[in-house]
């Protein structure tokens, strides 16, 4: 009896032991994919989509501080705009505006994280393409081309910000020992050369990179290295053989209704009401809306500077005041209640002003006349203007999760940008005729369509004319650079242009000197040549990688 029970017990135990084997302990993740599952044509495309999806700077966690529009780093850091809002809100941006450049503020890390996540996603695509069995060689080349274009794009953005940054390709496995001790321009160029060679000239989808987008980006990469000769070949090719032209209306570059037009060389696609909670829309610029009862209901950041507004003044000949534009201010409504009367400035203005800057008394797209003070969070702090350039029209943004996200694409590279770069080269080569021709093309277009009041008449005293001639190289250089500023104002290029031209210290210190009287929080701010050109490498990354590997900028 006893024996039998013992045997029974032993059997019971034996049964228990064997019933729980490896199968029981084998658990694989639910609801997710892995590299093998994605190693095919559809999977590769999906991973590429994932890499494209970070172009807007949103999707890795951060948003406003990593926006593709570079509103903080390209515009607020320059003479185009102030942080805006009120003194305390996102006060860290003020430290950027004042060139204090603290490596420990989260904004720099946010931008770094978003860009390198983009790099990482591009590398994921490259790795998976190599494994995909059902793709033929040309499909693979196209896919590699797109991935390497994107990888170059993200590295280029990082290079602009920090100069000395690590280059990450698909072969990297040790991410800690990845120093920023080399100039990565050659790596970026390699990726883009590959893209130029292998990408199709026409895009399968309007949002994809094409051979032309790659050439355009490569041209910019050369321009940033002052390699005019190399840039010139590419730009001439694009101008002569590319499918681009200036669209008739300057404003069509900033409307949802006219996205992906003939002037678009590379455009970041935005979408709303798509289940993405606004993250696929312009969420990186979601603070940059008129305040209070204004459209968006938030938050009043990114206010154009008085200096920028003044730059749109024209003389009796319809030409900009290259050297004297900031001697007097375009009249504004600072300190005047919205209920009190105000008559806008009646001097002559470049009509692009009112497509770029929201100001009192001028129609704010189709949202009605800008009412001034009540749309501004604190006029006293950051002046009377609001951001307008790529804002959405009322009714054009159906289905949006939030009025603060819109589907307006960011025109990352537009033809005007390339033309003006070609004009820069022409100036340096003393080909003033070509420079004049290009600048005049831009100016001629600027006058085509202007903001009109409800009576159909121009909303202000607009006057923009072409230059009859450029007197000399120096004048031409000033004219080209000035044209570039007002054409591309608030689009996030200005700071990088100033640094690229080597004039950031003189331009920005002059700007600060006048602006700090109006915006007292700029008191004492100074741009230090040789130091302020590049932003500090985020302290968080230095802490992770080690200060001996990731070296801080001077």
């Amino acid at each position: 009896m006893k024996k039998r029970i013992n045997i029974a017990a032993a059997l019971l135990f034996a049964g228990l032991l064997t019933s729980c084997g490896e199968d029981f302990l084998s658990k694989t993740p639910l609801g997710v994919a892995n590299e093998n599952l994605l190693a095919n044509k559809t999977g590769v495309n999906a991973v590429l989509i994932g890499a494209y999806s970070l172009l807007d700077g949103v999707g890795s966690g951060p948003s406003n501080t990593s926006s593709v529009s570079n509103w903080i780093y390209g515009s607020v850091a320059s003479d185009d705009a102030y942080k805006g809002s009120d003194v305390g809100d996102l006060a860290f941006i003020t430290t950027i505006e004042r060139y204090i450049n603290q490596p420990d503020i989260a904004a720099f890390n946010d931008k770094w994280v978003a860009l390198y996540d983009g790099v990482s996603r591009s590398n994921d695509a490259i790795r998976i393409i190599a494994k995909a069995a059902d793709m033929n060689e040309s499909e693979k080349l196209q896919a590699y081309g797109e991935a390497r274009f994107l990888r170059a794009w993200y590295h280029f953005e990082a290079k602009k910000m920090w100069n000395m940054v690590p280059y990450v390709d698909e072969a990297v496995t040790d991410f800690i020992n990845l120093p920023n001790d080399k100039d990565i321009w050659p790596n970026i160029e390699n990726d883009l050369l590959y893209a130029v060679e292998n990408l199709a000239a026409t895009k399968a989808d309007v949002g994809r990179a094409s051979k032309w987008s790659a050439k355009a980006l490569l041209a910019k990469v050369h321009m940033y290295q002052q390699d005019n000769a190399a840039a010139k070949i590419l730009l001439d090719d694009i101008i002569a053989n590319g499918p681009f032209k200036l669209v008739d209306s300057f404003h069509d570059n900033f409307r949802i209704a006219t996205e992906n037009n003939a002037e678009s060389v590379f455009e970041v696609q935005m979408s709303v009401g798509d289940g993405g909670n606004g993250n696929n829309g312009s969420w990186g610029d979601s603070y940059n809306f008129p305040y209070g009862s204004g459209p968006g209901g938030c938050c009043g950041f990114f206010q154009p500077s008085q200096n920028l507004v003044n730059a749109f003044k024209t003389d009796a000949a319809g030409l900009p005041l290259l050297n004297t534009f900031n001697d007097s201010d375009v009249k504004n409504d600072e300190g005047i209640a919205s209920a009190d009367p105000f008559t806008p400035y009646d001097g002559t203005l470049d009509p692009r002003l009112d497509w770029t800057v929201g100001r009192r008394g001028i129609p704010f797209l189709n949202w009605g006349n800008h009412p001034g003070k009540i749309w501004i969070r604190d006029q006293n702090y950051a002046g009377p203007y609001t951001f307008k350039k790529f804002f959405a029209y009322s009714g054009e943004n159906a289905g949006a999760e939030s009025p603060r996200a819109n589907a307006n694409n960011y025109r990352a590279i537009r033809y005007a940008d390339l033309l003006l770069m070609r004009a820069e080269i022409a100036v340096e080569e003393n080909n003033l005729a070509l420079a004049l021709d290009i600048v005049n093309q831009i100016r001629k277009r600027a006058g085509n369509v202007v903001v009109t009041a409800s009576d159909g008449k121009p909303a202000a005293n607009y006057l923009v004319k072409t230059y009859p001639s450029f007197a000399n190289q120096e004048y031409a250089r000033a004219a080209v650079r000035f044209e570039r500023r007002i054409e591309l104002a608030m689009e996030g290029h200005r700071y990088f242009d100033l640094v690229r031209w080597g004039v950031a210290d003189e331009v920005l210190n002059a700007y600060l000197k006048k602006e700090m009287v109006k915006r007292t929080y700029l008191n004492g701010a100074v741009f230090t040549k040789g130091k302020s050109e590049y932003f500090p490498i985020p302290q968080t990354q230095i802490d992770i990688m080690g200060a001996n590997i990731l070296k801080q900028n001077p």
Binding site: L12, L55, K373
Partner: protein, 1107 residues
């Protein structure tokens, strides 16, 4: 076998034939049915005591055993001294009869919870015995791993918790009640209604999850204790060292808390009704500016000092643009700010509270709003418990019904629990027992903090109502002129939310949880000494969450749309354990017990969540998902994990003096990759009962004295379920793109979801423990002392990866080693006075641990950063420092003049007269991030508790003090109220104690509107957070039993109680006890205060009735 009688208590301690009388003496828990029915989880068997084979010369005696109140005690063991065969136990009334052989004279009378007595029979036929209760008596049987043993035989560090003391504290869960009760256990309670508590046993063993493992009636769980009614708990043991805990292997590294619920007792049914009702009050006092004029003055001084002037004067949307700040009559009218009576804009006819044409008119609150006062309320707490127990030898039951309702002291926050517990056990043919323990509970957590269980960070952060309460300026009234909420739409006052509105708008947020927790088991005595047991446990949770976003037009940054999130999750864990337990006396001197078992555990869960926005009405009766018209969105996920284990335990006792225990457990976990799937966790311990040695036997003051030593290993597998896998996910918001140019749709893409680490292996904690247990003066004095050394190796952590690798869930890697050395001491004293009319007891415990990170990443320079809070990281862990030490610049005074500035280290853009002089710790002449240094750590020097109980006649008094000494805290609230951290309210300290030439010894630097540097992490924020708290004081009265009987009551007691009546601390924040930041399970970032839910004072009245 030659046995005639045998007495068996637990398997572990089964007594066969020929047992020495000495052994019987220590077999004191050996009672029958009544006291031992917690057999359900342990391997205790129902004891039977059989008396047989009388001889003619025998003497039959009868008698009754009662407690000090005269109540009969059932199930008392009565054995003849020096006999292995003669014994019995008392019946329901406490009566017994026993046949004694000729010449026998002394009985040993014992029962759990009472001091054992030796009674000389003499010539008496009737022997009545009164047993004195003895909470810490030697006889106590405690449940340890998969079995139970007499407390006196324990060789590991095991603390027993007096559940009667625990439940004196009114709290939603037993973890909170545990605070201060047990040496070596640190509890930080989250004060939100229904909030969880953070329990740490012996410091911090890892950077990873530090939560202990809870075993409730044999079923493991890692948390969710507020679903379990504390009043059903019969006993609670804390296994603190590895030698006691390692039988639980891979999940025991942070200690194990074993909870056994009340079981039925054979006898007439007993009913109990307990209730208490109380009132809680909370207080928040941060010395904020209340007078709006003072706020304006502060702004003016700041702007003047900074040179931020317009027209030569400071300027502010509310306070004007003059030489001094002028408090306006209105802070908002439409879009105008800072207006005065008579301004046409303030015409009430213009008022419009619709989103379109919104026109709000808000008067300045010239008296100043005390925001924290506005959100606090006195709140009720109710608790009702009904219990019924009873049964027969063949079937017993215990039933517990509980209703617990706690309103929070912050508006609209509450926690309700309804629970039913049913424990039953049946015995067949005296050899087979079948039973179940089951609790079903329904909890409802409502309001802003409703999702504040594990995994939420609603508490202790600056965006919650407490945080907004210290951020929003006092000039803003709660309501506008028409009674709608007012807030920061009025310009110049920062972005904080009106906390009254915040609480109101989240009033219908709720998490409703149904949890079923329990087990069913069968236990069979296969042989006399061999018991098999199989138990299947289930832990099923279903939670439903409603979360509303309502329009807040009065805010600076308004919600885009109203929205509703409705989420549902279910989690199931089952645990199947099987044990065989063999117990045997080998000869007179050897006692052996062997346990072997298997356990399989599987956990799985599924959840989904749905969102819609844009509801026509915000009426909660209307706001269901169906009625939302846009933003239709949903998500869902799932997980599975499994654990399979083999374990064995051997106990050996020689002469009852030399005790030895060995355990081993082998665990296989689905969470580790193939190569490292299995871990083996051994442990050994030994005890030496000195008091049994001849050289101490004569020392009559020593009742029991034991030294013990143990060594063992335990593991930690809290690394998520799929740490080994690199995965990709498809996310509409994060990896999708409108590649075709669409404005309203995206193509789905993929991005990396997680980086896998297939090579992760078990984190192993090796612990050595040396302890002394002593009972002196016949139980009057008790001492438990433990010294330990605990080293965690192959520590698992999610080491921050460089962003160059991309963004995805970071895998756990084995990166380092940590050490805790500590000492735990518990003392008790009980006695009577005034001829026994006054009895009292004193308990005290004190614990100390020293935590040190030994190495990280195998690199002396490796750094683990704490989370960034508003752009700064405040804590870091490095080798040779305690875990999560505070890190920042050290302040070396304030610059008094330009000469000092010139002589001090350079700090471009900062160093100036009136600013902080930071220490140039690296001596390079310039202040940079390299000058940051360690500023203290959050680990206390010691924690302690002091408990006093006394009863005099029918009155009883008890109080309980609890404290923490020597821990530091980062008072992050001060960053908001003492510095320019966003626009918002400030402290009186900032107004009055900022540097001026006239106030050279100020604590704060000169007021400067442009100063953003003074708020960086520095020694300014580090405070001593030691405290001593009167946790509980109770005065009760027990009615005499005779009049009660007439109205059908057997017992009745009423009491009044106060909780948290005072706290002694120098800490300047809301409360020195602060829950960890992040509040994720096992979060180890502690000692950072961003404003906790206020601790409440509680006054309550309670009644206990027995029928």
């Amino acid at each position: 076998m030659k046995k005639t009688n045998y007495l068996r208590n637990s398997l572990h301690q089964s007594i066969g034939t020929g047992v020495l009388s000495a052994l019987l003496l220590f077999q004191l828990p050996g009672n029958v049915s009544a006291k031992n029915h917690w057999a359900g989880t342990s391997n205790l068997t129902v004891s039977t005591l059989v008396t047989t084979s009388k001889k003619s010369a025998d003497l039959t005696i009868t008698g009754r055993v009662t407690d000090d109140t005269g109540e009969g005690i059932p199930g008392v063991s009565i054995v003849l001294r020096n006999s292995t065969t003669v014994g019995t136990s008392t019946d329901i009334d406490g009566s017994f009869s026993l046949v004694l052989p000729d010449g026998a004279h002394t009985l040993i009378v014992s029962s759990i919870g009472f001091v054992t007595q030796e009674v000389a029979v003499g010539n008496r036929n009737v022997v009545n015995v009164t047993l004195l209760s003895d909470v810490k008596a030697l006889s106590e049987v405690v449940v340890t791993g998969y079995s139970s043993q007499s407390k006196r035989d324990i060789t590991g560090a095991v603390s027993t918790v007096d559940t009667k003391e625990l439940t004196k504290v009114s709290a939603p869960n037993v973890a909170q009640q545990l605070q201060g009760r047990v040496s070596g256990v640190t509890v930080t309670s989250n004060n939100t209604p229904g909030g969880e508590a953070t329990v740490r046993i012996r410091g911090f063993g890892t950077i990873n999850n530090n939560d202990p493992l809870y075993i409730i009636d044999g079923v493991p769980t890692k948390g969710g204790l507020n679903n379990i009614n504390p009043n059903n708990i019969e006993s609670m043991q804390v296994l603190k060292d590895a030698s006691s805990a390692s039988i639980y292997g891979s999940r025991a590294a942070n200690g194990v808390i074993i909870i056994t619920t009340k079981k039925g007792k054979a006898g007439t049914p007993q009913f109990t009704f307990n209730s208490r009702v109380g009132l809680q009050t909370g207080k928040v006092n941060l010395d904020l500016i209340k007078d709006p004029q003072q706020f304006g003055d502060l702004l003016w001084t700041q702007r003047k000092n900074a040179g931020v002037l317009s027209n030569d004067n400071p300027s502010h949307p509310q306070y004007g643009n003059g030489p001094s700040a002028v408090v306006p009559d209105y802070i908002l009218a439409g879009s105008e700010y800072g207006l005065f009576e008579g301004d046409p804009a303030t015409n009430p006819d213009l008022y419009n509270y619709n989103r379109n044409g919104f026109y709000q008119i808000v008067k300045a609150n010239k008296q100043g709003t005390d925001w924290h006062q506005e959100i606090l309320r006195p709140a009720a707490i109710h608790e009702y418990n009904i219990g019924a127990t009873g049964g027969t030898e063949s079937g017993r039951y215990a039933l517990g019904l509980n209703y617990f309702k706690q309103d929070g002291v912050l508006d609209h926050t509450s926690f309700n629990r309804y629970s039913l517990r049913s424990n039953t056990e049946f015995t067949f043919k005296k050899r087979i027992r079948i039973g179940e323990n089951l609790e079903v509970s329904y909890t409802q957590n409502k309001g802003y903090y409703s999702n504040n269980g594990t995994g939420s960070s609603a508490n202790n952060q600056d965006g919650n109502p407490i945080g907004n309460g210290y951020r929003i300026p006092s000039i803003i009234p709660v309501y506008d002129i028409m009674g709608n909420f007012a807030a920061t739409r009025a310009s110049g006052l920062g972005p904080a939310t009106n906390p009254v509105a915040q609480l109101y708008r989240s009033r219908n947020n709720a998490v409703n949880t149904i949890r079923t927790f329990g087990n069913a088991y069968i236990e069979a005595d296969i042989l006399e000494n061999l018991v098999a047991k199989s138990s299947i446990g289930i832990d099923f949770t279903n939670a439903n969450r409603f979360s509303y976003t309502l329009m807040d037009l009065e805010e600076a940054e308004i919600e885009a749309n109203n929205a509703l999130t409705n989420a549902n999750a279910y989690d199931v864990n089952w645990t199947w354990s099987n044990t065989l337990n063999y117990s045997k006396y080998l000869g007179d001197n050897h006692r052996i017990n062997v346990l072997a078992g298997t356990e399989a555990i599987k956990g799985m869960g599924r959840d989904f969540s749905a969102v819609r926005t844009t509801f026509f009405s915000e009426d909660p009766l209307y706001m269901f998902l169906n009625s939302g018209t846009a933003g239709i969105n949903n998500s869902g996920s799932g997980y599975e994990w499994a654990l399979f284990s083999l374990f064995a335990k051997l106990n050996y006792s020689l002469l009852d003096r030399y005790l030895f225990e060995a355990t081993v457990r082998k665990d296989g976990s689905s969470r580790f990759g193939q190569n490292n799937r299995y871990g083996t966790f051994p442990a050994f311990s030994a005890g030496w009962r000195l008091s049994e040695e001849n050289f101490l036997k004569s020392a009559s003051w020593i009742t029991d004295l034991k030294v013990r030593a143990g060594w063992g290993q335990t593991g930690n597998q809290e690394i998520g379920n799929y740490n080994g896998f690199s995965t990709y996910r498809s996310s509409l918001s994060q990896s999708s793109y409108a590649i075709n140019g669409s404005n309203n749709s995206v193509q789905a893409g993929f991005d990396t979801e997680a980086f896998g680490n297939p090579d992760a292996k078990w984190e192993t904690t090796t612990q050595t423990n040396i302890g002394i247990d002593g009972i002196f003066f016949k139980g009057k004095v008790g001492v438990n002392l433990d010294l330990y050394n605990r080293t965690t190796s192959d520590m698992l952590y999610q080491v921050a990866l460089p962003a160059t690798q991309g963004v995805a869930t970071i895998p756990f890697v084995n990166i380092g080693e940590m050490n805790n050395k500590g000492i735990d001491l518990a003392l008790s004293y009980n006695n009577t006075a005034l001829a026994g009319e006054l009895s009292y007891s004193i308990g005290a415990n004190i614990s100390h641990y020293k935590n040190k990170v030994v190495k990280l990443n195998n690199s002396p320079t490796a750094v683990l950063l704490g989370p960034a809070i508003r752009s700064y990281t405040w804590t870091r862990s490095v080798a040779n420092m305690p875990l999560y030490s505070f890190y920042g610049l050290e302040i070396d005074g304030i610059y008094q003049n330009q000469a000092e500035v010139d002589a001090g280290p350079k700090y471009p853009g900062y160093a100036a007269v009136g600013k902080y002089r930071y220490k140039d710790t690296d001596g390079d002449g310039t202040i940079t991030d390299a000058d940051r240094t360690f500023l203290g750590d959050p680990h206390p020097d010691f924690t302690y508790g002091f408990n006093f109980d006394a009863s005099y006649k029918n009155f009883d008094l008890s109080f309980f003090l609890q404290g923490v000494q020597g821990n530091k805290m980062i008072n992050m609230v001060r960053r908001w109220i003492d510095f320019n951290n966003q626009a918002g309210n400030r402290s009186l300290r900032m107004l009055n104690d900022s540097w001026t030439p006239e106030n050279p010894n100020a604590s704060l630097p000169i007021l400067d509107a442009n100063d953003s540097r003074s708020q960086q992490p520095s020694s300014y924020f580090v405070e001593d957070a030691s405290y001593l708290r009167l946790k509980n004081i109770t005065i009760g009265y027990t009615f005499p039993s005779s009049p009660l009987a007439k109205i059908g009551l057997s017992t009745a007691r009423i009491y009044v109680q106060g909780q948290n009546l005072f706290t002694i601390t120098k800490y300047s924040g809301i409360d020195p006890e602060v829950t960890s930041v992040g509040s994720t399970p096992g979060s180890t970032v502690l000692g950072v205060d961003q404003g906790n839910y206020p601790r409440t004072k509680l006054f309550q009245l309670g009644v206990n009735f027995g029928f």
